[in-house]
């Protein structure tokens, strides 16, 4: 009897231990090293870059189950084209309309894996109040111990392409292209 209880306890301990071990790991975005940027063709002359200075987010990954989630929130008013006057135009109603839509959001409940590496995510981008499916590719996924603060940190480079007209942002098309390349450095610390 005692032995059986002991076995049961061992089994419980194993059961309790295994899911705990394989449970999703939660990561918080390092906003100092995670900047959403975009690239748009201007008049067929050049590719102009823009950036948002503030993004926050949380990522969970379960390496055993190869599942995960992403919650990303971008402060629309922090748009940075390198020129204040241009930023003002981009904050206005013709573009990001930040007074009415202060945040852009990307949410995913389907993180994609290639082996044990995160390789992308299928999710939804919400911009100007319009939510559309977006598939993001992630290259260079890696996790290390941060050399300075010794925390576990994961990162990579995320890319996607959207058409801004699908979100109702049509100003300047086609002189300023409809197609927008999105590109984001991602670094996130394990909680």
């Amino acid at each position: 009897m005692t032995k059986t209880i002991a076995s049961t306890l061992t089994a419980l301990a194993l059961v309790a231990g295994a899911p705990a071990f394989a449970a999703p790991e939660s990561y918080v975005l390092d906003s100092r090293h995670s900047f959403p940027v975009f690239q748009v063709n201007h008049l067929g002359l050049s590719l102009q870059w823009g950036r948002f200075k503030k993004a926050t987010g949380r990522i969970t990954i379960d390496r055993e189950a190869r599942t995960g989630t992403i919650e990303l929130s971008i402060d629309a008013a922090t748009i940075d084209m390198g020129l204040d006057k241009w930023d003002e135009v981009m904050r206005g109603e013709d573009y990001f309309n930040v007074a009415q839509f202060p945040t852009l959001a990307f949410r995913s409940g389907r993180v994609l894996f290639d082996g044990d590496k995160v390789s992308g995510a299928e999710g939804e981008l919400t911009m100007l109040g319009v939510t559309r499916p977006v598939t993001v590719a992630l290259s260079g996924f890696n996790c290390i111990t941060h050399p300075i603060n010794k925390k576990n940190v994961c990162g990579g480079m995320a890319t996607a392409t959207i058409r801004r007209s699908e979100y109702g942002m049509t100003k300047g098309i086609p002189g300023t292209a409809d197609e927008v390349r999105l590109n984001m450095a991602v670094e996130a610390f394990k909680e």
Binding site: L45, P147, E187
Partner: protein, 186 residues
């Protein structure tokens, strides 16, 4: 005397075919850089202020570039980091307020510019740098109707070649440079 006139007459067509001069549009020209951070993410920065002159003689397939970048206008999206980058560990902007790229050797494919061999001066160190132009196009600006050319130019340098060695290798030594440039014909 007759010979002199003939020589002058010959000189005139050359003058007509002389290089066109362009002034860089600072509102659409941003030298930018990408640098590997911790081996897996790329930190991107740019300089908000630059100016310059470009001459192009597509018939002679020659030209020149002179770009001056205001180093204090560095922008990585994070004020504290920009402060550090302006300091002595990196761009040392008090001592070296500008960096320059000069070239008098443009490379052409047909009438398109595809590259430029020149010299980059950064923190007082001058090194040869070869730019690849992966996009070049000229047209008439739809709003102001001026003749305008645009390009994207890229190259890769090692910052240690210029003496900027802070935090190598956690922050990469290799720096990828990308320059989006638009320039109006004078």
């Amino acid at each position: 005397m007759k010979t002199l006139f003939a020589a002058l007459a010959l000189t005139v067509p050359f003058a007509a075919a002389a290089a066109d001069s362009y002034t860089v549009d600072p509102t659409h020209t941003y030298p930018s850089f990408e640098i590997n951070h911790l081996g897996f993410s790329i930190t991107r920065g740019s300089f908000d202020k630059s100016e310059g002159k470009i001459t192009l003689d597509t018939a002679a397939k020659s030209g020149s570039i002179m770009i001056t970048v205001d180093t204090a206008s560095i922008n990585t999206g994070l004020g504290k980091r920009d402060e550090h980058l302006r300091g002595e560990d990196f761009f040392n902007v008090t001592k070296f307020p500008t960096m320059t790229f000069k070239s008098s050797k443009l490379r052409f494919s047909g009438d398109k510019v595809v590259g430029a061999d020149g010299e980059l001066t950064l923190v007082g160190v001058t090194k040869p740098v070869s730019l690849t132009v992966d996009w070049f196009n000229c047209g008439t600006h739809p709003i102001n109707k001026k003749a305008v050319c645009g390009a994207n130019a890229t190259t890769t340098i090692k910052r240690s070649d210029f003496g900027i060695t802070y935090a190598v290798p956690a922050v990469g030594d290799e720096v990828k440079i990308a320059i989006q440039v638009e320039a109006f014909k004078d």
